[in-house]
């Protein structure tokens, strides 16, 4: 093996670079920030971005440095999006694979439960859950994770059912393979493509959901910064101080883009049929 296959895929590399950039920023934010992200300064309210004052991205309506707040918010957004997606993916895939593989009654019970969750718009469901659980960062993770469960369950169930009818599953059975062997060696590897796409979409929508929840005052609580609540508080002043909204918004867009690009690249890489196309 010369270069790892992932690095030969341009799209995936672009996504990976973006994500690593954010990882780097969030690691740095624990040791060093240009300013204290919580320190208010009445003399520095709504400063436009400039290098001379040191506020490269400007300041908000309390005179807090926006760059510092975005950097501090990076780790929050990251942790929320990755843990919420993992939570939803693990439970959802488990349920979906189980339902699809076993079929019958188990399938019916699991999928009706998923349907109930599905019948609420995802933001509304997240707001419900937050209202029940109370406002806390962990609860944001839980709420977004629960919103994701039916999505993963449905995708993996559909993929499993489509695969189950293939003759190679029968062939494996006739060669003495048990249920768990078929699941691990034949079914799961063949459903990775739709799941990776779903995971990369979920990682990015988790950031958007977190932003929306924080925007509504249900997510990360001020004065702690998150990209969402920064956007939310910028709403009042963005007409004459656009930098308060543009930079947090840009931070969200670029990370979402990074996840999507990496997801696309990974899917192409893992599928032998698409591997040598590029």
């Amino acid at each position: 093996m010369k270069t790892p296959r992932l690095l030969r895929n341009g799209i995936a590399v672009a996504g990976l670079v973006l994500i690593l950039l954010y990882v780097f920023i969030s690691v740095i934010s624990f040791f060093w920030l240009p300013f204290d992200p919580l320190a208010m300064d009445a003399k520095q309210i709504l400063q436009s971005p400039s290098f001379s004052t040191g506020h490269v991205f400007g300041t908000d309506e309390f005179g807090r440095d926006i760059l510092s707040r975005i950097m501090k918010g990076t780790s929050v957004s990251f942790i929320i999006s990755i843990s919420a997606t993992s939570l939803g993916a693990v439970i959802g895939i488990f349920m979906g694979v189980w339902a699809g593989y076993l079929g019958g009654k188990a399938d019916n019970i699991i999928m009706r439960f998923a349907d109930i969750l599905f019948s609420f718009p995802s933001l509304l469901l997240a707001i419900f859950i937050m209202a029940i659980l109370g406002e806390h960062t962990y609860n944001v993770v839980l709420a977004i994770g629960i919103v994701y469960i039916p999505q993963f369950a449905r995708i993996s169930r559909g993929a499993i059912i489509a695969l189950k009818g293939n003759e190679f599953i029968r062939a494996a059975k006739s060669n003495g393979a048990g249920r768990s062997y078929i699941l691990v060696h034949h079914l799961l590897p063949n459903i990775t493509a739709p799941l990776i796409v779903q995971i990369s979409l979920s990682l990015s929508t988790a950031i958007l959901l977190e932003s929306a929840l924080s925007f509504l005052g249900l997510g990360v609580q001020p004065p702690n910064p998150s990209w969402g609540n920064m956007l939310s508080s910028a709403r009042k002043v963005m007409m004459f101080a656009p930098w308060t909204a543009v930079y947090p918004g840009l931070a969200i867009v670029l990370l979402v883009l990074g996840f999507n690009l990496l997801g696309d690249g990974l899917r192409d890489m893992l599928d032998p049929r698409l591997r040598n196309v590029r």
């Binding site: 003759e167 029968r170 062939a171 494996a172 006739s174 060669n175 003495g176 393979a177």
Partner: protein, 337 residues
């Protein structure tokens, strides 16, 4: 007691699929009688062809023999042991001895596995279960030699199924079916998905392998020419029943059952003049639904020579002459009735 010559004996095999109705609470409202009382036996080294039109239960018969489909009733005796009664562990051990070649070379290979992994998978499973003792290196060596024997050199071993043609894929499937050293090969239309020019290559390969590994074949096809070439004996199926069995030579020269006659007369002749002048038996109507319970002969309402008794009583499979059995009242003597 057990006839050593006979490798596989199927006795009154029935596979019925329930028809369910209802959204949440399923009610059984009948059954599809896919295989409805099939009996035959296979001697060591023989190849029996199973022919019939689509939906007559050929594939289901094979799937039931290999216990991939639930058997409703009947016996499947392999070397005298009843597969239909075997428990899971016993069955897995028995699976070494009978393997399937599947119909569709596109869905029978896992798209995420290399050719080598596909062929060695059965060996790896059996080695992991401790039924055979082979280390990884010898498994790989064996798989490579099987691929090579089936016409794929080791340069192909690392390729994925989508990089092969249909014929090559079927060769991989054949190599896989041989990996455990089976005695019986259940071939489920192994060539019907292939090009005519590739069909003959695969058939010749199967014939060579049969001699080399002393294999017994149960060979399903709907192409009568393929069966005539490959099989020494043929069983004709209609609507879940065997209606006639004979050596292929006898069957093609002297078909007895009206359905067999109709089937043979439908074989295309590659000569337009001869094709125009021959007498064809054209059947009226469609194959009846296999969900109906019918007391008489399954072919009775389409048969050009149907008699009164045909709709009332089911004709048993009776040996008319040497090794030639037919289930039709036209040929049954009075004392048989």
């Amino acid at each position: 007691m057990v006839d050593k010559e006979i490798l596989l004996e199927v006795k009154d095999l029935k596979v019925h699929f329930p028809i369910e109705k209802g959204l949440l609470i399923k009610k059984n409202i009948g059954s599809i009688r896919a295989v409805d009382g099939v009996s035959f036996s296979l001697r060591q080294g023989e190849s029996l062809g199973l022919v019939g039109e689509s939906g007559c239960g050929k594939s289901t018969t094979i799937m039931a023999i290999s216990r991939l489909e639930r058997i409703t009733s009947g016996q499947v005796l392999f070397e005298g042991q009843d597969l239909s009664l075997m428990k899971e562990q016993e069955l897995i051990r028995a699976r070494q001895n009978f393997q399937i070649i599947f119909q569709d070379p596109y869905s029978s290979l896992d798209p995420r596995m290399r050719a080598l992994d596909i062929v060695s998978e059965p060996l790896r499973i059996f080695a992991k279960k401790g039924i055979i003792t082979l280390d990884d290196a010898s498994i790989e060596k064996k798989a490579l030699s099987l691929l090579d024997r089936c016409g794929l050199s080791s340069t192909f071993a690392d390729r994925y199924p989508h990089e092969f043609s249909g014929g090559q894929r079927q060769r991989i499937g054949i190599a896989r079916s041989l990996s455990l050293g089976p005695k019986l090969i259940l071939a489920d239309e192994p060539v019907s998905a292939l090009d005519v020019s590739i069909q003959s290559q695969i058939l010749n390969l199967l014939k060579d392998l049969q001699d080399e590994f002393n294999l017994t074949f149960l060979f399903i096809a709907h192409d009568l020419a393929v069966v005539e070439y490959f099989c020494s004996r043929v069983a004709v199926m209609y609507l879940g029943n065997i209606v006639e069995t004979a050596s292929s030579k006898t069957l093609y020269e002297h078909p007895l059952h009206p359905y067999t006659k109709a089937l043979l007369s439908a074989v295309p002749i590659p000569d337009p003049i001869a094709g125009k002048n021959r007498k064809r038996t054209i059947l009226k109507g469609d194959v009846p639904s296999p969900s109906q319970v019918r007391p008489g002969c399954p072919f009775a309402d389409r048969c050009p020579q149907a008699m009164e008794i045909c709709t009332k009583k089911r004709p048993p499979l009776v040996e008319i002459s040497n090794q030639h059995e037919v289930a039709c009242f036209l040929y049954h003597d009075q004392e048989v009735l």
